[in-house]
Symmetry: D2
Subunit: 252 residues, 4 copies
């Protein structure tokens, strides 16, 4: 068998290397977590601008209150108090199509627009908006049931990318698409944080297919905070009681 | 019901706040992922020294090759190729007692030594070493079947803590314990990376109980790299074949 | 809020009822696990024929050696030896699109054929086979890289359904589709066990969308056997070594 | 390397065998799921009495309303609607020490009593009860915050074991322990369903260490019903809203 091999890590008794860089001599104390994450996943060194953009997305996605993920993590910790990894993993399993899937869907639309000749991009954006409207499907990366008319995170993320000089083409495509979506809807539809994140992450060269992994890492940190708070000041037992009372079968 | 509430996040249509800090105005683009992780989990602002130490531990724990976690993640991706979150979660579930549990066990021993009056610490370290030896149990944080006689990561991590001026008491306790372990064994036993990480994480005030959560976040990033590589250059199918052939039931 | 409520279970201090049946008086000792599983998931009582068919599918799907799922479970147990639930959950996470997804895809094709007027079914089956062939996609439920030219489980499952008088329409559709697939390929392509299972499970009225849940239950039992064997006679450490050596980065 | 091998399954192109029994010729259609589960996990054929007892425990543990596990599964499905396996796995991760851990703890106490000479068993039971009372720890398998003064499932399970002629020694030990717990408490404390299940599962020879795996299989079926109901009649979105409102940070 002449199988492929993993090229991520090499180690021996005296040394460990990540993608060829010596962990002890070149990485620990010299490269931050965000920069190493980028390098390790993509195989490319992270510039300061890339780190700034990725940090901004990680910070944006870390936490959003008692989300389904946070509830799942706390419920799991309640039953298995010693399994911190199980609680966090349970919360991560919900990082799926409904929320972060829109990041990937948006990234693919932006790629289509960016790949088109410059003169045809606006028309393509309009076609995409119209096509979603006809199918009564939301355009991924657009709309938010809480943050409206505008998602406050979006302008901040886009400004930051501009300042870092990163993702110009994808951010421009996102703005084009935004105008097309507004026109098709006949009203303003917010570009949400996953839409902005999609533009930024594509801007630093992350593929749509693994984008939700960035959300997984960010949210793992947020869920750890929920685990720590749940241990110190538990709510899971009361949540259980409340959910059973409000959503369980009533006594016959 | 006058139940406890989560105090991690507040949000409304126009703003999101993490532990009272405005996400858009104070965090995105201003605070890095590592610093926010620390603040969010502990409720305390991270100094530059704290960020340096936490970054070093995260970088250290991110990756170690085709570990059981990486194998589990790749196997899971093979069966469920669209579920990046499922693959990473499967890998994280193995971050349990055998490996990172030693970080927590070591942290607890260091806490005992630090809590003792200064004059009694060496004696306590000797008692701990002797007690483990009698019970034929390894002292958590000591020994490594590959990295011997010394784990190359340990001196780097301890030096970095020294330079940052963090965790003096716990690092001193670890060194005391190291001398006691060597004396009890009659030979040098390495302080491994989980031992050094335990000293550093206690040094920045993280509780033993949630320490494995730091490993979970770090390893989530490493597993994302395995997922990305597995998608680009798959090995899971060949691993399956090899494992079945070498470890499956032989034909009767 | 006038929200929906779960109607699966009602309990009070003296009694527990599942879908209105008293657990103590009507279920324990009177209804077997397979029959209750069916009733609980579908809300319909299971006839003896239904139990026979569901039991056959559960038995078929329980185990298939050192599959990716079994490897993931054993790797996870190696790192977290006390977390039996974590090991089984890790293994279950790989029960996704690649393998059991074909069961769902096949079920949907069979539904299309069954829904067509009787005279048009053969033509529809041929159209489906041709459409997949043009797109170079395998027809879900057909082909097997090991069990060829024929999957030994398939005739047994189909015979059993025939004897039980269950799923006549879906089994007939599967046979029609099989003939069409053979004709389109110009050679015999096996109907695999997931194809046969799809016909049987649709035959007892389970929806395609939750079919993989049946595989999850069956495989949970198989993975428990792997967990038990791994505890008694561990192979995970040796698997790790072998995989790292054969698939890890070679020394530079 | 002369490593151990898995002995659970052997397969070739024409046949699959589980622990040496031909899947097609000996198992499908001839052995039920519960009987095969037992045989596969333990390596021993299941008698009719064993199947009756194991079925009773599986039926007992399948469902208990909107438990933390069911809530976690529904939350996960809400975020990842296509990942039925992820939702069930998330729910299973909470089957840990707090609830089913008591089954294992109880099994170990019963083993100690059964292992003692007959004349000393009552005294040992009293010593165990007293020791837990002194440490203010509940005796595993005893007490229930809802089902009191008595858990209705317990007498049914114990009667069924008696009728099946299974687990006589462990059931007797459980009754002895029950009398000792009542005497130590000065009031009646119920033997709960996990206590009774522990006696029955030890009675059919399952080890304490893997007992929670039986709960995992049973609960996987229950969670599949929650997944099916959630798809047909969703509550997760409303649960999220209710939990955020009642347990989230209030507006400042």
């Amino acid at each position: 068998m002449n199988a492929a091999r993993s090229r991520l890590c090499h180690y021996g008794p005296d040394a460990i290397a990540l993608r060829g860089r010596d962990l002890v001599g070149e990485l620990i104390g010299k490269v931050g977590f965000t920069a190493l994450l980028y390098h390790h996943v993509t195989g490319r060194r992270a510039s300061a601008a890339t780190v700034a953009v990725l940090d901004a997305v990680l910070v944006t996605l870390m936490e959003h209150g008692l989300t389904p993920s946070a509830i799942a993590a706390r419920m799991t910790l309640h039953g298995a108090p010693d399994s911190v990894q199980g609680a966090i993993a349970a919360g991560l399993l919900g990082i799926g199509d409904r929320f972060v899937g829109t990041m990937e869907g948006c990234a693919r639309l932006l790629d289509r627009i960016v790949a088109a000749p410059a003169k045809q991009r606006a028309a393509l954006a309009r076609a995409i908006a119209a096509e979603h409207r006809r199918a009564r499907r939301p355009v991924p990366g657009f709309g938010h049931n809480l943050h409206k008319p505008d998602d406050p995170r979006t302008p901040r993320l886009l400004a930051l990318a501009g300042k870092a000089g990163v993702g110009r083409a994808h951010v421009a495509a996102l703005r084009l698409l935004g105008r097309a979506v507004d026109a098709a809807a006949g009203r303003h539809v917010t570009i949400n944080a996953t839409g902005a994140s999609a533009a930024l992450l594509r801007g630093i060269g992350l593929e749509a297919e693994i984008m939700r992994g960035v959300a997984v890492v960010a949210r793992a940190a947020g869920l750890l905070a929920h685990v720590a708070e749940e241990r110190a000041s538990p709510i899971a037992g009361d949540v259980w009681t409340a959910v059973e009372r409000q959503f369980g079968t009533e006594a016959p």
